[in-house]
């Protein structure tokens, strides 16, 4: 995915240099041309389509914004109302079958979703340790993490 987006941007830069039209209109046209080239090469080699994956990523970005807002409302309520109702725990979460970049993306997403914060990763990179604010029931907290993980795997990691 990163390779494909990079190729897309490279075509855009080359096009705006070649067309001699600096500024964003030339760049956007270049992006469109790069998009067509990358999509065509995907179709020719029978790989999953670039455009569809881009749509999945935009879909995930919308979902991410929604959960970021929910996370903020949740912590704002905890801060602004008197007394504390948290039931915090540090739980381990398995990430054996992801590579380093994917673990980093997952950890960043976990930190910005409601009630969870990544504390550490184990030395061998097989476990993430997550501080959950509302984890009265450990299984339920891990289940929430699993849901985000599944979504990331389906919509972003399926390169």
């Amino acid at each position: 995915m990163i390779l494909r987006l990079g190729a897309d941007f490279l075509v855009a830069v080359l096009f705006s240099l070649w067309a001699g039209r600096p500024g964003w209109p030339g760049f956007v046209i270049g992006l469109a041309i790069g998009f067509v080239i990358v999509s065509t090469s995907d179709l020719a080699f029978g790989r999953p389509n670039h455009g569809r994956r881009l749509l999945w990523m935009i879909h995930f970005a919308g979902y991410f914004l929604a959960i970021l807002i929910r996370a903020n409302l949740q912590i704002a309520r905890e801060i602004l109302t008197p007394g504390f109702n948290q039931t915090p725990r540090i739980v381990r979460y398995p990430v054996q079958d992801l590579d380093d970049l994917q673990v980093t993306v997952l950890a960043n997403c976990i930190t910005l979703t409601p009630g969870t914060l990544v504390v550490d990763a184990s030395e061998d990179g097989r476990w993430l340790y997550v501080h959950c604010m509302y984890a009265e029931d450990r299984a339920k907290a891990v289940n929430g993490l699993q849901k985000l993980d599944d979504r990331l795997r389906r919509e972003v990691f399926s390169w």
Partner: protein, 117 residues
């Protein structure tokens, strides 16, 4: 038209600023280091998003939109990484955890080694 734009700008700026303020207050008020990091990482990201959106609506050029999107992208990548480092430092120095913390599997695993799967 300009009035509508001003109103939207004020709403976006105001919500961004209030999330930042709530986050700052949370850093003071919440019971231990991990809860404070929850407040600082989430609230500053959404607060910055609101303020950048307000700026883009007010300026209203594509250049501003691209710059704001890039700023937001780098923030979303960098802020959680910073809070991971702070949380890791807090745990390795053994900072006091809140009394109601139910379990700490990171400490368990550092003592006994991680589970074998």
């Amino acid at each position: 038209m300009d009035t509508v734009r001003d109103v939207i700008t004020v709403i976006l700026l105001g919500s961004g600023l209030s999330f930042m303020l709530i986050g700052a207050w949370g850093v003071v008020r919440l019971p231990d280091a991990y809860h404070r990091l929850h407040a600082s990482s989430k609230c500053s990201t959404l607060g910055l998003f609101g303020m950048l959106a307000g700026a883009v609506v007010y300026i209203g050029t594509v250049d501003a939109l691209i710059k704001a999107a890039l700023t937001l992208l780098f923030t979303v990548v960098a802020t959680p990484v910073g809070s991971h480092i702070l949380a890791k430092a807090a745990h390795s120095r053994g900072l006091r955890q809140w009394d109601h913390t139910l379990s700490d599997e990171l400490a368990d695993d550092q003592r006994d080694g991680p589970p074998q799967v």
